[in-house]
Every structure is written in C-alpha cells, then in structure tokens.
C-alpha cells in the first residue's frame, strides 16, 4: 500500500511531495506571496520593536507628570509631538499608550481565544445537552450590546490593573470564538478519522486535543488575527469614552479621547491625530495579514 502511494507520488512529482504541506507552511507561503500582507507584517514588526524598545527608556511616571509651565505646547525640539492640557509630553504618551494598547489587545485575544477554544471544542465534540446548554448561554450574551455592558462592569469594579481589565473584556469576548470553534468541531466530529480513532479506543480528551484540534489550527489563527485588530479598537474605544484606564496609565484611546474637548479637536491636532493614525495603521496592517491568512485556509483562493 505504502509502496504504491510512493510510486504514484514519483509518477506525478519527481521530488518528495508525498506529504502535503503543513498548515503553518501554507499560511506562511501565502503571507510571503501577498506583497501587501508581507509589508504590513514588517510594518507591524517595526512598530512593535520601536514601541517596546523606546518604552524601555521612558518612565511612565515621568511621562505622565503634570508640568504647568508647558501646557498645550505645539510640536518642538523638546516635545516632538507637543504637550497636552497637563503639559505632558504627547510623544512619550503615544509610545507608552501604544505599548499598553497592544499588550491589552494581545492578552485579551489570547485569553478569549483560549476560553472560546475549550468551550467550543467541548460543546461541539459532545453535542447534545452539553452543546444545548452552553450555546443557550452564548447566544444570550452574544446579542447584548458589548460596549454598554463592559462600561457598566468597569464602573462596578472600583480599581483594576491591566490584567483585571483584560479579564473584564475577555469575559464578554470569548463567546463568538466559542461559537466559531463549535461549528467547526461539529463538522469535524462526523468525519471518518474521528470514528476510526474512537473505534481504536482513544479517549475523548485525546481525540479532541490530538486529532480534532490540529485540524482547527489554521481557522483559529485566522480568526484570532482578525479579532486582534478588533480588540485593540475596542480597548481604545473604551479608553476614548473614559472607561479604560486613568490618565496615569495612558492608552492610545486616552490620547484620542482628549479630542472630546472641541478646542483640542479643532486646533491642537498634535494631541489626538498621531494616536488616531497609529490605531488606524495598526488595524489596517493586522487586517491585511489576517486576510492573507484567511485566503490561505481556503485552497481555491490562494495566490501561492
């Protein structure tokens, strides 16, 4: 049997193509073929290096210290992007804000992905009552207006740090992931390899983790990449409205939020415009990468 397969492979391709490329390789190949996505990825890498690198040399306490002698300075050699209403350096806040926003976005995406994965796998694999029960709850929460519920939640919790804030956001964001994973698992579990494995006596846990999960990786990666952009946007949105962190922990949304003061919006562009453009550029790049990865999961649409 094996010899025949090898012989066939040799007939078609002289090289060793007997194994189809792994999921990761397909994703990577598509990313490299798509020039826009590749540039976006490099750009993102650059932003991350600059933001995390420069923030090592900045002291958050120093940056957010009020300086009454330097209110609303336009950009100059001292303050590259001017100062805000507390005389605080906008450039420093931009870097630290970007660091905080990216960190929160990544942590929330990973946590929500993990919880959604576990819940979705369990619901989809076992089906029946387990599935019904879990999905009832998910369906209920998924139609609620996310922004309002999180705003109420953030007001209830008196004091929170970055980790707790991430947990609050995650607790309302894992549902859509769970729904996606569940529907894919439902399809997978009907396939013959799962039946075969069950006949061989594999435990449920083993089938779920070792056999179904690897077939879901590419979908998970794509959906998490796309929601990373969304989560950074959500966090900045909440900070923009004033329900993120206090001003002593700037985020990109905090800087944009200063534009809620009409005078700042009208005549002090240096405070809010750079942060807005940075958010937009990051979200565009992440989406570009995500779209390329999405094409890679659908063989008909691949470029490479």
């Amino acid at each position: 049997m094996k010899e025949m397969a090898n012989a066939n492979a040799e007939l078609i391709q002289p090289e060793d193509y007997s194994k189809s490329p792994s999921g990761w390789r397909v994703l990577w190949r598509e990313l490299v073929r798509d020039k826009v996505a590749l540039v976006s990825l490099l750009f993102l890498g650059l932003i991350i290096v600059v933001v995390y690198g420069v923030s090592l040399f900045l002291d958050q306490k120093e940056v957010v210290k009020v300086d009454l002698f330097a209110l609303y300075q336009p950009p100059s050699a001292d303050f590259w992007l001017g100062t805000d209403y507390g005389g605080r350096d906008v450039f420093g806040q931009l870097i630290i804000g970007a660091r905080n926003s990216i960190t929160i976005g990544v942590v929330v995406t990973l946590l929500a992905g993990l919880i959604g994965l576990v819940v979705g796998l369990v619901a989809g694999y076992f089906g029946g009552h387990v599935d019904n029960g879990i999905m009832r709850v998910v369906d209920f929460f998924i139609i609620l207006p996310f922004t309002m519920i999180v705003i109420i939640f953030v007001t209830i919790v008196p004091k929170y740090n970055i980790i707790q804030f991430c947990l609050i956001m995650t607790s309302f964001l894992w549902m859509s992931k769970a729904r996606l994973i569940r529907s894919k698992t439902l399809q997978e579990r009907e396939l013959e390899y799962v039946q075969a494995s069950r006949t061989l006596g594999s435990s449920n846990l083993r089938i779920m983790v070792m056999e179904v999960l690897p077939n879901l990786t590419s979908i998970i990666i794509v959906s998490m990449t796309l929601s990373l952009a969304g989560n950074i946007g959500l966090e900045s949105g909440l900070s923009f409205l004033g329900f993120g962190f206090p001003e002593s922990t700037p985020s990109l949304g905090t800087l944009v939020g200063y534009a809620r003061n009409p005078q700042t919006l009208e005549s002090r562009w240096w405070i809010w415009l750079p942060a807005s453009l940075l958010i937009l550029a990051m979200m565009l790049s992440i989406n570009n990468v995500g779209q390329a990865l999405k094409r890679a999961t659908d063989a008909r649409q691949r470029k490479g």
Partner: protein
C-alpha cells in the same frame, strides 16, 4: 425572547446595584444628619434584600414607571422620552443612508468586478473595515464641522428654530453628519456581502440558462441575480440595530448629540443608576428584538430555513 429579557433585567439590576455608592451618596453634605440619611435609605427601600428591590422595580417598570432620576430630579420615563426620539431619528437616518450607499456600491462592485470602480470600492471597504467608528467620527467632525464649517458641531436642533419647516430642516441638518459617519462605516459588511453574492450567483447554472434563452443583460441582472442576492440583505436589518446601539454611544458623545447614548454615558458618570439601568434595558431589548426581526425576515425571504 421573553425569558431573555427577563434574565437581562435581573443581570442589569444586579450590576446597577453593585455600582459604588447609591442614589443618596451624591446628596450627602456635611449639614445632613446621618440618622436622617439612614431613615431615608430605609424609606426608599434601599436596605431590603435584592430580590425584594428587584421585584419592586420590575413590577413598577411593567406599569411604565422606571423610578426617578436622582440627578435630574424627574421621572426616568420622562427623561428618556426627551432623548429617545433623537436617537430614533438618528438610527432611522443612518439606516436609510446605509442602504442608499451600500446597495449601489455592492451592485457596481459585483456586476463589474475587477474593473477600476470595483478596485476603488474594494479599497474603501478595506479601509472602512479597519477604521474604528470613533476615529472616523472624530475625523468627520474635524474636517466637515470645524475645518470646512459645513455642519454644526453639536446639538440636535438650532435653539432659535422652534416650529414648522425650519425646525424640521434644522433637525435634519444636525442629523446628517453623525448619521453619515455611522453609515459610511456601517455599509462595509453589506457591500462586501453583496459583492460576493453577486459574483457567486453570476456563475450559477440558472444564469447561464437565462443567457442561453436570450435574456438581455439587464433582465439577467434585474430579474435573476439581484433578486437572489438582495433578499438576504434585508435580513441584516436586525443586526444593524445591534450595531447602531453600540455606535450611538460613541457617535452621540462625539457630536454632542442629546440622545440615549449620551444620556447613558452622562448618567453612568453621574452614578444615576436608575437611568443607567433603564437605558441599558431598553438598548438590550432593542438588540434582542433586532435579532428576532432578522430571524423572521430570513424565514420569509429564504424558504429553505423555514421551520417545518
């Protein structure tokens, strides 16, 4: 649907109860006797167990009494009724603009795919997909409101316009920019969906049949393709409502538009919990009803998923 609203009301009530401080915290001034304050708490029922308080609240709410706002010193229903029409008009204008923009763009993009116009439209949907609503709203306000000065930068009506045509025109004038900001971001998913639908349908067998029978190009598109591709769009209506609710919170606070979203933010900052819970409940009910509407429309337009 009813059980969903019931659970939502319990969740919201508990959340509002858990908020720091109660309705009397804001009133405390040094001259007030602590005993009098405690007596007032007792009188208002703030010391009862939560389920008693919940029952009081929900049975009153069912009769249209949502309690009093402690900040504005007026019934919550009255406060909301002042704002709700503004938000309804904003939502309606956004929906109309969304469909007015999305359907032509989607049709052009799908019918003439891979042409110059399709590229432009696809590029727009790409950027629109990545653009957070609050940043787009700010840019619109900055450019059209302040820089060009074409539109008002706040409010829902000119205070001098009191009645008649002038009042209506002033309302529309104030509505236009916020509604357009929401619509231009909101159209993206509809345009993408419509484009993919049309391109998909174009290659189906029944279209080839129609062409083979000699149907003119316009007949093929108007009678065969659009009919199949446009109907599912109708089902998006319900989901649009959920999106609009999230959007109004941002847009109304950017454009200083006195609607429900702004009321929500103001009352949460002012710890006016009877207003917060009422607004959140209304928005929650609207979302649930929106999802229901989508299901119903989908049932009507697509016989395949009708429950047997």
């Amino acid at each position: 649907m009813i059980p969903q609203i019931f659970i939502l009301s319990i969740v919201l009530f508990l959340m509002a109860k858990a908020m720091p401080g109660d309705a009397l915290t804001g009133l405390i001034d040094p001259s007030l006797d602590p005993d009098a304050l405690a007596a007032m708490r007792e009188k208002l029922g703030l010391n009862n167990p939560w389920y008693v308080q919940y029952w009081d609240w929900i049975s009153n709410a069912a009769q249209g009494d949502l309690g009093n706002s402690f900040k504005y010193k007026m019934p919550v229903t009255e406060l909301i009724s002042q704002r709700v029409s503004n938000t309804l008009w904003l939502a309606l204008a956004t929906l109309i603009l969304t469909y007015l923009i999305a359907i032509p763009l989607g049709i052009i993009s799908g019918r003439y795919n891979d042409t110059f116009f399709d590229r432009i439209i696809s590029g727009y949907t790409y950027i629109g997909f990545a653009m957070p609503l609050f940043i787009f709203g700010l840019l619109m306000l900055w450019f059209f409101g302040f820089y060009l000065g074409w539109f008002p930068t706040g409010g829902s009506v000119n205070p001098r316009a009191t009645e008649g045509v002038g009042y209506v025109l002033s309302k529309i004038y104030h509505l236009l920019l916020p509604a357009l900001s929401m619509a231009l971001i909101g159209v993206v998913s509809t345009v993408q969906y419509l484009r993919n639908e049309i391109i998909d349908t174009k290659q189906k067998d029944f279209i080839i049949t129609a062409r083979a029978k000699g149907a003119s190009e316009s007949r093929v598109y108007n009678r065969h393709i659009f009919r199949n591709s446009l109907l599912p769009i109708a089902a998006f209506l319900g989901f649009e409502i959920t999106g609009l609710i999230g959007g109004t919170v941002f847009i109304e606070s950017i454009f200083a538009y006195p609607g429900m979203g702004q009321l929500f933010i103001q009352s949460i900052v002012g710890r006016d919990f009877s207003v917060v819970i009422a607004v959140a409940l209304l928005f929650g009910i609207a979302s649930i009803v929106g999802a229901l509407i989508s299901d119903i429309i989908l049932n009507i337009v697509d016989p395949r998923i009708r429950i047997k």
